[in-house]
Structure formats: structure tokens, C-alpha cells
Symmetry: D2
Subunit: 263 residues, 4 copies
């Protein structure tokens, strides 16, 4: 039985489904729509326990998942959802020890997934040209104690990257097709390239640039997640769903042709 | 620049898209549909290089991703695809150090994803009641040097589990709803439960059992992956797709009610 | 060139996409969010013309499609959308001259599609056990001059139908599986049965009842419609979509077995 | 009770789901994978009856639906499926009496849906530049006695159309965006334009041309049909599905601006 202790990151889940993620700090109070709870009343409780607000409303004491952390990250831009980031991790082989570049840190939602994937021995090099986004990503990563696995860089990637021979590089920027030469410089031979782009025009432009820069193993896809209402006797999908976040494009750079050849 | 060396697990990708995954062993030869290649001719080549068969057919030398490994695992049953397993890893918080039970090892495709997620410090306890499946899973895991992170157990889970207080438990068996009491015994308070079931009737039965055993934070969903043809000037989805692998169900056990209360 | 004339049903489409459907009646005025327009100023204008409100806001003068009429029908319940009703018409062979029973008139959206399909020589027999729904359906059909093709009946279908040997019968009620014996009485041999049900449990129950009552050619399906933003240079799906309206189930009754036989 | 009679178009449905559509002609025999059946043994049987082959294999005697006819039309090219054609009929207001141009008759599958929609008083003007396609469409329409509602024209539509003021015009050709000026000449003011195109690049090009030629009420969408296995106790989607047939684009031409104006 694990007991919640000071400085733990916890999730309180209300009976109505409302979620609160925060770090336990004994002097503090959590204020909810259903009354407040003293952090000191949570410390020492076993995970899975029920705690109640001063209005006697019940909450469950849980540990947040990466999924919870991504979905709850403060955002000022469209984030990459777990339905995509989970697939990206497997497709781009983000494992303990990987060195990964991320272009377009944004709110840091994808950075969280990448950092969790490469820890404890790998590293994420994250770039953004907007200062405010880097500030927000820093805040979101720091809340989860993930900053030690991430370098955040303020730069327009047209200028290229500091790193070379990285295992993987993921882009979430407006016109990724403009930067494929720079990507090639940074990625290890046969490394993993991935990008998320919102429009079909961008998919076409990106595929075109990748083919031109001699990337192979091209994949373009989209992932749809459909939730169901969890009522056993009346099982049915939710009425509405997210219809589109973006298209995923993957490819791997290979060595230039060494001799003329008819394909 | 990384050079392929003896005992490396490599992927040869033919120009026609055919994939061969194997471990480099200098005395061996790879026999393809387009001629053979001596392993000793690959050792020492940089990743991303082009190597050619004795018929002069070109292949790219790459490192396989977890995605490649899952998709290429030898199978005697339906496997869990990366579109689902990636989401499961984030949703069930499978991170370095996690202790996870898997019920229904099957061909070991999900076991691969779990082992990659918990390594180097975590552990996967995998159960199957079929000996032949355990043999196949062992083979698939051993090929990838992942066996050291996995305990394979031959058991009908109706008898319960050896482990307690595990962080997460994932089921891929025919009637998961029959074993929820056993699941509760093994899972830590507030731990992560997940299952994949193929039919809507099973989703209903499972939700029912979970609610009965006081699990909360229920989620039921399905994930659809749609591939596009990677032709920039004629971008369009593939003509056909996998329409269904299974429904994912997630939940977390919480402590029993301590007092009567009207909800 | 067709000119709008008195009593025509017209659609005014604002430049902002707002739609107004009404019948031209010279003494009347249309009041919009962007000023009013006198019907008498519309009469005599060619279809496709631009008319302007007293605030000089431009509207296009168009004829409404069945799609427009269905989507604009006043509703007090979930309606059946054109993505489903169009498929139903072809699947259930609703053609000029068909005699069709509809169970669950609701707001009359499906009744509109059926009436348009069977006219000028066929007939729709529509049942509902709620008086208010029949009133609403009457209003919606009358607005479109379709009442002459439809009989509206106030009845609980547990009591059976007045008609026999109908070509097709469509149900949109809560528990269609309870009424399959009555359906069999009304439908011609080999006729077309269809239903829309919202939950998977209902699909199972309905299929079970249909198989029990010796229906064949079973089909169960769902139809998803995904809209795209119509911006040529930034083509992408809309962010959100309707994820579920209902499942469609189709079947056809056949004669009872004439002799024992092993199938 | 309706009895099958000479010259009726009938559907024999095998117990295994095999379908045979043909016209009853007393001297003929139907040869199936399970033995033959004399047409004269079918004439006089009630619809819904069971008939058996000389090998005693059971078939159900049914009337084919438009859906059956479309799906069984002989094809030498990709056809437009009922999931799309049903929606097109409602969206483009194809009703009894409509005058409709179709560009790209192909195998005639869409022509069948259009002809059924406009009969008995309307007309379909169908164009194709390939002689072989017109021959095939003729054959498919004639089999269904629908030829009397259709004009088939051998022409490249770059040359324009013979008809003007048509209610609706549907295109299924490779580059519809090249012919929008000709479309405008033929369509009535505010008439209904629709097209099916397979690639996103074509959608962009078509939207661009339509906006340029002053069409309004633009809609671009795709329709997905997912079938379920009809087993009540194990309800689940089919394993695979058609992932893409094409994108649908709709628009309506309006009168040119009569005065300069800032929108």
C-alpha cells in the first residue's frame, strides 16, 4: 500500500469526473467547485482512498498518468494528443536513452511524452521560436519534474540545430517542408523523422521535400479516437468527437546514391 | 556516424518496401526475394547506407523501431497493434520502473511494448494459459533481448496472481470480466487497469464487472488508423483499412466506501 | 431562367452561411439577423440572384434541397440525418410508387425523405404514440406540401398496423425488437425492413429478434460523415464531427421453413 | 402476396449469402455454385419463398433493391457506392421530375441511382468520352429497364453540354476543375453541382475553380460506412472496411455581382 507523501504529484478525481492535478505541499489548500481540501489531510492517505472536501464531497486520491499530464497541461496552442503521441513514441523508437530533437515545443505536451520516453538516460532537445511558448513549456515540464531531461532552445530552426547524430526528430511547426535540409544535418543516418501537420496541402509539400532529400520508408496517416459512454446496458459512442488534430508523416534519411542506377 | 556491428539487431528495407529484421552474425547470410546478402558485408556499414544483394538489388540498412518489432513479431493470434499499444502506454502510465502484469501474452506483441516502456528498472509479469503462446512470446522477446525484463508465467488467471501492489495490469483475454476480483487483489490502490476486447457485448460485461468491483475513471474507446498513399501530387487514403481490432477499456480501483452514503 | 413566384418554397442563403427557408407570400417580410426583406421584393427574381436586406446585406435566392429541408425541420427529438436517410432510401428500395410504413415519426425528418422518395404515386404510413410528435411532423410536412403523400397515425405499434403487404417498413423507436412479430404481419414477403437504434445492446437485441422471426439478408452498419473546411490552400477536416447518431439494421422476412432440415 | 412472374427482375439469395440478379425468362436456367434452377420453377412463387436448386440447396426469392442493383452492376472502373449516391440524391435534390446532367457515366452505377430518383417524369443526360463505358452503362441500365429515363452522350465535356437550365449536374471525372465554365453554362441559376474526386489535390483544385466561377454554399466531405458482423452475442465491426472511395464536393452557382462591394 502506497501512501501519499509531501511533494508527490497527485490527481484528485471528483465523483463527477472533475480532475485536479497538483503537488502536495502541507501548508496549502486545494480549492474545488465542491469545497476545499487541506493538502495535509491528503498526506499519509493510501492511493485509491477517498478524501472529502470541507463540504463533504468525495474525491479519489490517485497518481496522474502521462495521459493525465498531457491532457491537463496548460495550453496556448493546439496540443498533440495521446492518441498521436503514443503512436509517435513507438513509430520513432523513443526509448530509454534516446536523443531526440523536438521542433515546436508549443505548450510542451509532446515534450512531456518524449521526456517520459527517453528518461532516465536520454535527452530531449526542444526548439521554439516563440519565447512565450518556451516559458509555458518550462512551466509544464517543471511541474512534473521533467526539466532535467530537456534542453529548451529559443531559435528559428531555419538556422539549423546544435545537435547532430540524434536518434529522432519530431516537428510540429507550420511549414516543416522548408527545413528538411536542416533536419538531415541533425539526424543520424537512418534516424527517425516525424511531423504533425494540419492540412493536406502541407502533407503533400512535406512528402515532396522528404522525397527530394532522399528520405525513405514514408508513412502518412491519421488517427481517430472514438470514446464510448460507459453505461453497460446502453453502450454507444459519444455523440461528438474530435474529427481532426493533424496528419502524421514519418520518414527516414538514407545515404545518397553512390552510383547512377535505373530504379 | 554509427556503424552496424556484430549482434546488432538490424532492419534491411528493400526498395520495394520489403522488410527483413535480424541480428548480425558474421557467418550467416540473409536470403531475400531479390538475392542473398552476407551479414559480414553489412557489419561495419553506417546506418542509413545502401547495401546490395548478390543480384545487385538495393536495400537500406536501418535500426528497427518498436513499431517495426511489434509488426514483425511472429504471430499465431491477433496481436495488439501500435495504434492501440502506444495509447495504452500513456494511458496506463507505463514508464521506466513500472511493475506491470499482462494477462494473455499471446504472441508477445504487447509484451514488447510494455517491456520497452518499463526498462531498464521495471518489470513485466506476463501470464498465459497456453504453453504454445508462451513459447512464441519467449521467442519474440528473446530475439529483441527483452527477456530480462519479463517474467512469463503459465497459469489460468482464475487462480489469481503471484504479485501484489503492481502499478498496472493489462488484459487481452476472452472474458476479462470474470477475473476482476483477482485483478483487484493484484493492483495497487488507484492503479491502472486496461483491457482490449473485440465485441461490444464484452465491453458491456466488463464495464459492469468493473463498476461492481468499485473501479472508477472508466474509459471505453476505439482507435482507428488510416494510412494515406504517399504520393504528393495525388494524396489520398489507402483504399482499405483495418476497421476493427478491439475496444479499449480502462479503469482504476479505489477503496471501498467507508460509510453508507447517498450518491 | 426560373423566376421565384408566389407560394414557392425558397431558401435565402446569407453571405455568412445563415439559411432561411420559407414560402413566398407577398404581404410578408423575412426578418433576419441582418435586416428584413419583403417577400414581394423576392417574387419575380431569378433563382441564383442576389437580394439584399434593408440593411443592404446580401443573400442568395435558392431553392431548398431535401437535405436543406431535413436539416431545417423543427425538431424536439434526435432526427435521422441525410447521411443515414439517403442510404436507407437505396437500401430499402424507396422509389416512386412504394408503400412504406414508418414507425416513430418523431419530428418528421425521415418522413420527408420517405415522402419525397415515394411520390407522386406511393404512400407513407407513419405511426407515433406521441401526439406532440405527430403535431410537429404534420407541421414540418405541411410546410413542404408533402402531407398528401403521408398518413399520420396515433398509435402504439404493439397493437399492430392497419396495412399489410407493404414494400418497406422503417423503425426509429426505443425497442424495435419488441415489435418484430407485428412487422412481419405488415411487410410483404421479402419486403424491406430497416431500423435505426442508438446502442449496441439494441443492435444485439434486434438482430436476435430478426433471426428468431426468420428474417434474412441481415446488415448492421454505421455511417460517418466528415466535413472539410472549404479553403483550397489549407484543406483539412473540421475540428469536430458528429461521432454517432445510430446504428442501421436491415433485414428481409422470408417464408417459414416448409420442412425440417439441417442447415 | 405477390407472385413472381415472367420478365420480373429477381434476386436469388443463397443461404450462404451469394446473390444472383436476373430477369425471369421461362426457357432459361440459372446456374449457381450450388446447382441449377429453372426459371419456370420460380415463376408463380410468392416473393420471400424458398426455392431450391437441383442439388436441393436453398435460395430465397426476393426483389432486388437499388442498392443491390448498384452493387451488382458490371464494372470496369471504380463505381460510386450507395453510401455516397444516397447522400448525393438528397443533397442535390434529385426528385421525381428533375433534369440532371451526369458527367462520367462510367459503368452506370450512379446513373442507376439518378434515373431511379428522377423517374417517372424527369431525365438524366449522361456524358462519357469513352465508348466502351457508354456500352457498359447501356447494358447495366437496359437490364433494369431504366434506359428510357436516360440520354447517353459520347462527348468530351470540354466541348460543353447540349442542355441548359438543368436542375443538377454531377461529375465523376479526373479533372472536374477544368470544366467549371461549361458547368455554369448548363446549370440553372442556383442549381445543384456535385462531384466525386479521389485525391485531396483535386478537392483543392475544384474548390478553387468553384470559388473563381462564383459558386456558393460549398461543401466538401467524405462518408465512411462501417459494417458489423450480425452475430447478436458477439457484435463487432468487420475486420476490414473500404477506407476511401472519394471526396464529395457540392456547390451552387449564383449570379455575378452587380456592383463593386467590399465583402
Amino acid at each position: 500500500m502506497t501512501l501519499a507523501k509531501e511533494q508527490d504529484l497527485v490527481l484528485l478525481l471528483g465523483k463527477d469526473g472533475k480532475r485536479f492535478i497538483f503537488r502536495l505541499s502541507p501548508g496549502d489548500e486545494l480549492h474545488t467547485h465542491r469545497g476545499f481540501i487541506r493538502h495535509s489531510d491528503i498526506v499519509g492517505q493510501p492511493l485509491g482512498a477517498q478524501v472529502t472536501s470541507h463540504l463533504d464531497y468525495p474525491f479519489y486520491l490517485l497518481r496522474p498518468s502521462i495521459h493525465d499530464l498531457i491532457m491537463s497541461s496548460k495550453r496556448e496552442s493546439q496540443i498533440i494528443y495521446p492518441k498521436e503521441s503514443g503512436y509517435v513514441l513507438l513509430k520513432m523508437n523513443i526509448v530509454a536513452g534516446s536523443r531526440v530533437i523536438e521542433v515546436g515545443a508549443g505548450s510542451g505536451a509532446m515534450t512531456i511524452a518524449l521526456a517520459q520516453g527517453v528518461m532516465p538516460t536520454g535527452r530531449v532537445y526542444s526548439y521554439d521560436r516563440r519565447d512565450d511558448m518556451l516559458g509555458l513549456a518550462t512551466k509544464n515540464l517543471s511541474r512534473l519534474d521533467l526539466l532535467e531531461y530537456v534542453d529548451l532552445n529559443h531559435r528559428d530552426v531555419a538556422e539549423g540545430f546544435d545537435e547532430t547524430e540524434v536518434d529522432a526528430l519530431f516537428m510540429d511547426v507550420r511549414e516543416p517542408h522548408l527545413y528538411i535540409a536542416q533536419v538531415r544535418e541533425a539526424l543520424a543516418g537512418g534516424g527517425f523523422f516525424g511531423a504533425l501537420v494540419p492540412t493536406t496541402n502541407q502533407v503533400s509539400a512535406l512528402l515532396d521535400a522528404l522525397i527530394g532529400e532522399r528520405f525513405v520508408d514514408l508513412e502518412a496517416c491519421e488517427i481517430l479516437l472514438r470514446h464510448y459512454k460507459t453505461v453497460p446496458a446502453r453502450l454507444r459512442p459519444e455523440d461528438r468527437m474530435v474529427a481532426h488534430t493533424g496528419y502524421l508523416v514519418f520518414a527516414r534519411p538514407v545515404a545518397p546514391e553512390q552510383r547512377p542506377e535505373a530504379e
